[in-house]
C-alpha cells in the first residue's frame, strides 16, 4: 500500500492546521454540539486523506464531504426528534422547546430541498464563490445563482410564516 510521501505528510498537516478549526466551527453552527462537529470534521478529513494525492482542491472536497455528513446527521436527528415526539405524545408529556437563534434559522435551512440547501450552505456559509460551488456540485453557474435566489426566498417566506 502506498504511503503518503514526506512532503504530502507535511502538506496534510499544514492543511489540517489551516482548515480544521474553521471547518469544525462551520459544522458546529449546523449541528447540536462540539462533539458532533468534531466527529463530522474528523470524518471529512479522514475521507480527504484517503484521496489526498488525487485532489486539486482539497478545501472544496472536504467541505463537500462535511456538507453531506451534516445532511446525514440532520436526517438522523430528524428521525430521532420524530421518535421523541411520538414517545412524548404517547406518555402525555408536552415538549417545551425554546430554540436559540442559530437553531431557529438552522431548522429552516434544514427544511430546504437538498438541491437548494447544498448550494446555500456552500455559498453563504462556507464562503465559496458561485463558480466554485457550481464546480463542486457539477451544475451550471446560472443554475446555482437561481438556486441561491430560491433558497433565500423560501427562507424569507418561512421566517415570515414562523413569526405570524
Amino acid at each position: 500500500m502506498a504511503r503518503l510521501r514526506a512532503s504530502d505528510h507535511q502538506a496534510v498537516e499544514d492543511f489540517f492546521n489551516a482548515c480544521y478549526p474553521r471547518l469544525a466551527g462551520w459544522v458546529r453552527r449546523l449541528v447540536d454540539d462540539d462533539d458532533t462537529a468534531h466527529e463530522i470534521a474528523s470524518e471529512a478529513f479522514t475521507r480527504l486523506l484517503a484521496r489526498w494525492s488525487g485532489l486539486e482542491n482539497p478545501q472544496s472536497y472536504v467541505y463537500m464531504i462535511a456538507t453531506n455528513l451534516v445532511r446525514d446527521h440532520w436526517r438522523k436527528s430528524g428521525r430521532e426528534r420524530t421518535a421523541v415526539r411520538v414517545m412524548s405524545a404517547a406518555g402525555g408529556a408536552e415538549l417545551t422547546y425554546q430554540p436559540a437563534q442559530d437553531v431557529d434559522v438552522r431548522a429552516l435551512i434544514e427544511a430546504l430541498p437538498e438541491r437548494l440547501r447544498s448550494a446555500f450552505l456552500l455559498h453563504y456559509y462556507a464562503g465559496f464563490g458561485v463558480k466554485e460551488v457550481a464546480a463542486m456540485l457539477g451544475r451550471p453557474e446560472g443554475t446555482i445563482k437561481a438556486d441561491l435566489f430560491h433558497a433565500r426566498a423560501r427562507l424569507k417566506a418561512a421566517m415570515g410564516d414562523a413569526r405570524e
Binding site: 500500500m1 496534510v12 498537516e13 489540517f16 492546521n17 480544521y20 478549526p21 474553521r22 469544525a24 466551527g25 462551520w26 459544522v27 458546529r28 453552527r29 462540539d34 462537529a37 468534531h38 470534521a41 474528523s42 478529513f45 479522514t46 475521507r47 486523506l49 484517503a50 437563534q101 442559530d102 434559522v105 453563504y124 456559509y125 433565500r152 427562507l155 424569507k156 421566517m159 415570515g160 413569526r163
Partner: protein, 469 residues
C-alpha cells in the same frame, strides 16, 4: 422598539463570523490512523479481488510483532535532532508502574530499530550521549528497566537528520544499550522532545514540547498532535497517562519557562487520542498572570495529583473518571525550570505526598496523605535552589538542588547532604527513587554524558555514563 424583518435576521445569521473550533490534541494523528486503516482494508479487499485473477502470485505481507531488535549499525537507536538544537534541561521519572500487555499495531520496517528490553538490545548507545530525562518502569517480573533520552552523536553526522537518541538499562545503570528514538529533534519552536516516560517495557511517551508515543518499546514512534501547545509534564501508570498541555511564549530549550495557561489531558497506553480530564470548571483552563508550572505525580499506582499554578491540589483516579479539588498546598509553583518542573514548589508522591516549599535556600517540607491537609515535617537548608523532590516507601525523601543532593530517611524530618562521587557542575535537575534504596538523578549539565545512581537510599551517588567510553 424596532422589529427586525425576516430578511435582516437571515442576513445577520449568515454574516456572523464562524467561530473556529480548535481540534483536541491528537486529532490529526487519530484521523491519519483511521485513514491508514481504511486504506489498508481497501487495499486488502483490492488484493483479494486481484487474487482471483492472478492466483497465488502474491503473498500476504508479514507483520513483525513483539520486542524484536533488528539494528543494522552500531548507532541504531540514534535518530538525530536538528543539529543546532541544544539539549533541554534534564529530568525524569523513577516510579515503577506495573507491566501491561502489548498492542497489535503493525510495526514499521522501513528502518533498522531496537527496542527496550529486559536484557539488552545488543547495541551500543551512540557516542556523546547527553541525557536530558530518565524513566524507570517495571518489567512485570519484579525487575525494572530504565531509559534515558537526549541528544547524541555529532550534529550533522547522526544516523538520520535528527540526533535525538534513547538508551536503555536493565541493570540500573551498570550498562546501557541503544534504543530507537522518535524521528524528531530536541526542543525547537513547539516541536521536538526532551523528556521520557515509560509505563512498562512497551508503552512510552517522549515529550517536551512535542509529543510522541510508542506501543512497542521504542519502535515505531508516532508523533501526536498537541494543537500547537507544549507538553510540559506527563506521568503514567498501568495503562493510563496524564499530561499537562500548556501555552508558552518561549520556544526551544526554554519552552517551559514562560507558560501561562495549562490544561490536563489523559490518554491510555497504545492510544493516540488525548482527551481533557474531567476537572472542576475553574481548572479546565488554568491561567496564571506570570509564568508558572503544574506538577503531576501518581501515588500508590491508584491516585494522580496535580499541583496547579494557583497552589490548589487536584486529585483523581488513574482508572479514569472525574477529578476533584483535594486541597490547597502550602506554597504554589513559580515559573518552571527548562525541563518543566516548577521552581519554588516541588511535589513528590511516595506512601504519602511530600511537598518542598523553597525559600531563599531553605526548603520547608510538608507531608499529606491526601492533598487536603498538610503537616510540617521539617526543613532543609541547602546550597542552591531546589530543583526536584522524590519520595519512596520506608520514609526516604531526596531533594536535588542546583549544587547537589540532600536525603532524609524519616519522611523529611532530618536531612543530610549526600556524597556525590564526581563533581556535577550546576547540580541536578531531576531526582527520583525507584525503591527505598535505589534512585537516579539527572545532572543539570547534560554534556556530562551520564546520570547518577544511588543504591543506599540517597546517601551516595555515583555516575553512570550512557555511552561506552
Amino acid at each position: 422598539m424596532p422589529v427586525s424583518s425576516p430578511r435582516d435576521e437571515i442576513d445577520s445569521w449568515l454574516e456572523r463570523e464562524v467561530t473556529p473550533l480548535m481540534p483536541p490534541p491528537g486529532k490529526l494523528d487519530q484521523i491519519r490512523h483511521r485513514a491508514r486503516r481504511r486504506k489498508t482494508t481497501q487495499a486488502m479487499l483490492a488484493v483479494a479481488g486481484c487474487a482471483v485473477v492472478i492466483g497465488a502470485a502474491a503473498s500476504v505481507p508479514t507483520l513483525t510483532a513483539g520486542l524484536s531488535s533488528h539494528p543494522t549499525s552500531a548507532t541504531t537507536g540514534q535518530v538525530s535532532a536538528a543539529p543546532t538544537s541544544p539539549p533541554a534541561s534534564p529530568s525524569g521519572s523513577a516510579s515503577v508502574p506495573s507491566s501491561t500487555s502489548s498492542s497489535a499495531e503493525p510495526i514499521q520496517t522501513t528502518q533498522s530499530h531496537s527496542t527496550l528490553s529486559a536484557t539488552t538490545s545488543g547495541y551500543q548507545p551512540p557516542k556523546n550521549f547527553q541525557p536530558t530525562s530518565v524513566t524507570f518502569a517495571g518489567t512485570g517480573t519484579g525487575a525494572v528497566v530504565g531509559a534515558v533520552i537526549g541528544q547524541a552523536g555529532t550534529p550533522g553526522h547522526c544516523a538520520t537528520r535528527f540526533c535525538t537518541s534513547l538508551a536503555g538499562t536493565s541493570d540500573y545503570g551498570k550498562s546501557w544499550y541503544g534504543v530507537s528514538a522518535p524521528l524528531t529533534g530536541g526542543p525547537a519552536a513547539n516541536d521536538g522532545v526532551s523528556q521520557l516516560r515509560f509505563v512498562d517495557l512497551k508503552h512510552g511517551w517522549a515529550f517536551g514540547p512535542g509529543l510522541w508515543e510508542t506501543s512497542r518499546g521504542g519502535w515505531p514512534w508516532h508523533r501526536e498532535s498537541t494543537g500547537g501547545l507544549s507538553v510540559t509534564a506527563l506521568e503514567g501508570v498501568g495503562s493510563r497517562a496524564f499530561a499537562v498541555f500548556a501555552s508558552c511564549a518561549a520556544s526551544g530549550a526554554g519552552y517551559a519557562t514562560s507558560c501561562t495557561s495549562f490544561s490536563l489531558y489523559t490518554s491510555t497506553a497504545g492510544s493516540t487520542t488525548w482527551t481533557p480530564v474531567d476537572v472542576p470548571a475553574p481548572f479546565q483552563h488554568m491561567t496564571s498572570p506570570a509564568p508558572s508550572a503544574a506538577t503531576l505525580v501518581i501515588s500508590g499506582g491508584t491516585t494522580a495529583y496535580l499541583l496547579t499554578p494557583s497552589g490548589a491540589v487536584l486529585s483523581g483516579p488513574v482508572s479514569g473518571g472525574a477529578w476533584t479539588v483535594a486541597g490547597q498546598a502550602m506554597c504554589k509553583p513559580g515559573a518552571a525550570q527548562a525541563g518543566g518542573q516548577p521552581a519554588g514548589a516541588q511535589l513528590a508522591a511516595g506512601p504519602s505526598l511530600v511537598l518542598a516549599c523553597d525559600n531563599a535556600g531553605t526548603s520547608t517540607i510538608y507531608t499529606s496523605s491526601d492533598g487536603a491537609s498538610w503537616k510540617l515535617a521539617g526543613s532543609v537548608t541547602a546550597t542552591g535552589a531546589a530543583t526536584s523532590l522524590a519520595s519512596s516507601v520506608g520514609g526516604t525523601v531526596v531533594l536535588s538542588t542546583t549544587t547537589g543532593i540532600y536525603y532524609s530517611g524519616d519522611m523529611g524530618a532530618t536531612w543530610n547532604a549526600a556524597t556525590i562521587s564526581k563533581p556535577a557542575p550546576h547540580g541536578f535537575s531531576y531526582v527520583g527513587m525507584t525503591t527505598r534504596t535505589q534512585g537516579v538523578a539527572v545532572p543539570s549539565e547534560a554534556k556530562l554524558g551520564e546520570v547518577f545512581v544511588t543504591a543506599d537510599g540517597g546517601k551516595t551517588w555515583t555516575p553512570s555514563p550512557i555511552a561506552a567510553s
